[in-house]
Amino acid sequence: MKISIRDAGEIKIVEIEGDVDLGTSPDLRRTLFDALLHTSKVALNLGAIRYIDSSGIATLIEVLKHSQSRNKEFVLFGLSPAVQHVFHLTHVIRIFQVFQTEEEALASA
């Protein structure tokens, strides 16, 4: 899994590529928690994810709850077909703010 971060004004955009599983989700967790320390909004690009398991889903929910408890925003965009499949299978899609494009994710309030 590859992770990169860039800034769009005050917003941090995190991009991940590859597989999110038991072995890699701790790195994603660390990156997202760290990003939330330095901004009030993080947008996560899930367009290049080939695979995500329940540990990856757990990480995203944990980060969402952490952001909400600090009045910060954590939004997702560009869900790959693999991510969409697992989100639907685990019935978690409704708890996240999900956008199709980066522009929509950045514009959300």
Binding site: D19, D21, L22, G23, T24, Y51, D53, S54, S55, I57, A58, I61, E62, L64, K65, A82, H85, V86, L89, T90, H91, V92, R94, I95
Partner: protein, 146 residues
């Protein structure tokens, strides 16, 4: 033309032995998806089956071996007609069967989805303690539409 080898198996029998190290999970996933595809499942079902077995392996790593990377996990996949049977064997702590899928998972609950995913995707799932170790067996049958 040579005659068929009578010792050749009539179905695919795949065996892996892997350490309880998450680094090897992608290797197993890379075998399960194409195997399910060869039986006839579509891309979506192949992903679900891969996810279910990956969750079972992850549970062994986390709960049987407590994230130690030096435990042994043996995996066997057998195909028989339209059915896939997967057996996992480990020598770590046995699962507490009273806690497996004991409660529904709330949408915003952080963990606890693995066994629910396995149950939802596979047709049959069993957990047994045997003299050879903890045995997880799951099957799924392809339902062909006419």
């Amino acid at each position: 033309m040579s005659s068929p080898n009578p010792s050749a198996p009539s179905c695919l029998h795949l065996k892996f032995a892997m350490p309880s190290d998450p680094r090897y999970l992608p290797v197993v996933r890379g075998a399960i998806g194409p195997l399910a595809s060869a039986i006839g499942w579509d891309e979506s079902d192949c992903l679900s089956i891969t996810l279910a077995l990956d969750e079972a392996l992850a549970n062994i790593i986390r709960h049987a071996y407590h994230n130690r990377a030096d435990g042994l996990i043996e995996l066997e996949c057998r195909t028989s007609g339209d059915e896939l049977e997967v057996t996992l064997l480990d020598h770590g702590d046995a699962p507490d069967k009273t806690k497996i899928c004991a409660r529904a998972v709330a949408c915003d609950q952080i963990g606890g989805r693995g066994t629910h995913i396995i149950k939802e995707v596979m047709d049959t799932v069993s957990y047994q303690e045997t003299p050879a170790g903890n045995r997880f067996v799951a099957t799924k049958r392809l339902r062909r539409t006419l």
